[in-house]
Point group: C2
């Protein structure tokens, strides 16, 4: 019954309409997009691209836009390949390890597993907890071709301690294990991208997406930054013209969006401080998130289906966690939205507390 | 030195600029797009989609748009999967035959070979000529997993005789050989799509693209029509959200575009009749095209590089044929453009004749 992803999908629509509501009127806390939305100039750039470029074959090498991304990331253009959203980036990188062995730091984004399966990759789940770090999995990781890390992590929103991460990168490099690091949510927090470590760690492949920070999941704009030999391999099996002209418009607008990113980081810091204290005040357990979503657990609840249905009846879409490894429905994922929406959520969670 | 594809790519730009011209001022006969352009209402639909839907996660099942395409094609929605342009469709279908054997009716679109190589598929080239039909290749075809046919064919523009095609489909079905038929150019000619034969031939997989007829290569909108079991398999390894919101707007506009398609077919018939007689009058040998492009051969020339460079100096981009199997540069491919552009081409080809 549960759809694979958040957002207002057809499956969610059916669930909501069964409850006598219209999906369009629901508040969506299930997708983890920037509630500050898309900068107006970015929308304009994309519309202009549709108007002026839809009738042109994109340059199959996307030279101009690749150069822009390389400049923003501080690397050479040979270190970059543009992709049809972060999703294609994940599928392309995993293809490098076809029929091999991958480890996934769990719980994490379910598409890693799906991409591995599509490429007949054997999957090992590495569940970190307060008592278990990656070091407890050394013998397992040693036998992997690639270790997949989402940083900041989806669905928890957490960030691995930097010293810990550095020692993991060093150790995997020594043991010839590649690391695929998905930084789809890194723009929401003021930390350095691991792209800066590329020259030191040739085993590192970083994936980025513009979907979340610019709230443009419909446009499909992502990229991969890695050693130039890896990029060359990826290019050999990437479909031609994988990136559409609206996404190209977005890439070209990228250098002018620093203000939007800074503004988002500042807003989130304040909003989360407030929201966190409200929700903890109601007795919910929250993940130590650094970004625009978090796990919420009602300590009195095992399977969180009743909470999801309660919120749906109140007009709120929460993200179930049935497909997240080691969570399996025992919490929900919620987005940090605008103050008005967050207040609405808090009010209904207060009612949930009172009614039980 | 020669780029893989037509269109105004970065590689073509370098060639042209070396000759002291600006690419923007060149007439592009190298890309095979509809010179009647994109219907205004289609452009509007796509811009509206960027404005209203870029901030929404597309329904991962694309239910509405899949239903529309299924209706247009007269099949069930379980027989359809939408793709990121025709290019992704080719890559997805060939993945079904990973590490197998494919035959390609040659000369044909070079992406079939590239997609096969990306999936470690052994390729057999089947070159048809006036003296050799597919029947001469029976023992070869029998051992294939899939036979790839472009119909109408790129780069020749030709169509296989319908009786011949039917007997090929019957024979491949009996011998358990799948047929991938790429109908990217079918809208330009008033013939029936092979989609109508799906119920009879479960070994048939049809690929379509909206790129050519609507002149929107920047938007990336294609689809696959096949047996529902094949579609189910394809869905299992397709990347999520592979189709962007502008392409979805295009799919939704599809039912209203019949007039544009009819108008294009009528225009092409007249224009080609005129252009053909002009070019044959100059002594050029032309392929028996049914669509909006054709092969042109100067009987006095072996390698056609001098002709490509001559035209480039005159401001005309022709499509080289170095990467087309069994052509290898011994002709050029040209698009049927507007009357004004075609007249310009004819004038310069007349000069080419006089100067040699």
């Amino acid at each position: 019954m549960w759809p694979n992803h958040g957002g207002k999908s057809g499956a969610i629509r059916k669930l909501v309409e069964k409850n006598g509501r219209k999906l369009e009127e629901m508040l969506d806390f299930s997708a983890n997009l920037n509630p500050l939305g898309t900068p107006v100039e970015v929308i304009e750039q994309m519309k202009k691209a549709i108007e002026n470029e839809s009738m042109l074959y994109p340059d199959p090498d996307y030279e101009v836009e690749t150069e822009i991304v390389a400049h923003v990331e501080g690397v050479n253009k040979n270190n970059v390949i543009l992709t049809n959203g972060g999703a294609e980036a994940i599928f392309l990188v995993t293809k490098l390890f076809q029929s091999g062995k991958a480890g996934i730091l769990q719980p994490s984004f379910s598409e890693y597993e799906r991409a591995c399966k599509a490429h007949h990759i054997e999957i090992a789940s590495i569940v970190l907890s307060e008592n278990r770090t990656w070091k407890d999995y050394k013998s397992l990781i040693k036998n992997l071709h690639v270790l997949i890390i989402c940083q900041p992590n989806n669905p928890t929103g957490t960030i691995m301690d930097e010293t810990e991460m550095l020692s993991l990168l060093k150790w995997t490099k020594q043991n010839h294990v590649m690391v695929m690091m998905d930084e789809a949510f890194i723009h929401f927090v003021d930390i350095n991208s691991h792209v800066r470590l590329l020259s030191e760690f040739s085993n590192l492949i970083v994936i980025k997406s513009l979907t979340k920070i610019f709230a443009v999941p419909g446009v499909r704009a992502g990229y991969i930054v890695a050693d130039k030999e890896i990029i060359r391999q990826l290019k050999s099996f990437t479909i031609p013209w994988n990136v559409n002209c609206a996404a190209l418009g977005l890439f070209r607008a990228l250098p002018k969006t620093e203000g939007h990113i800074k503004k988002t980081q500042l807003w989130l810091k304040n909003e989360w401080a407030w929201l966190r204290s409200e929700l903890e005040g109601l007795g919910f357990i929250l993940s130590h998130t650094a970004v625009n979503f978090y796990l919420l657990k009602d300590p009195f609840l095992e399977d969180h289906e009743p909470l999801i249905l309660f919120l749906a009846q109140k007009g709120i879409v929460a993200r179930h966690t049935y497909h997240f490894h080691s969570l399996e429905g025992r919490c929900v994922r919620l987005a940090v939205r605008t103050r008005l929406e967050n207040e609405c959520l808090v009010q209904h969670l207060k009612k949930w507390r009172q009614e039980r």
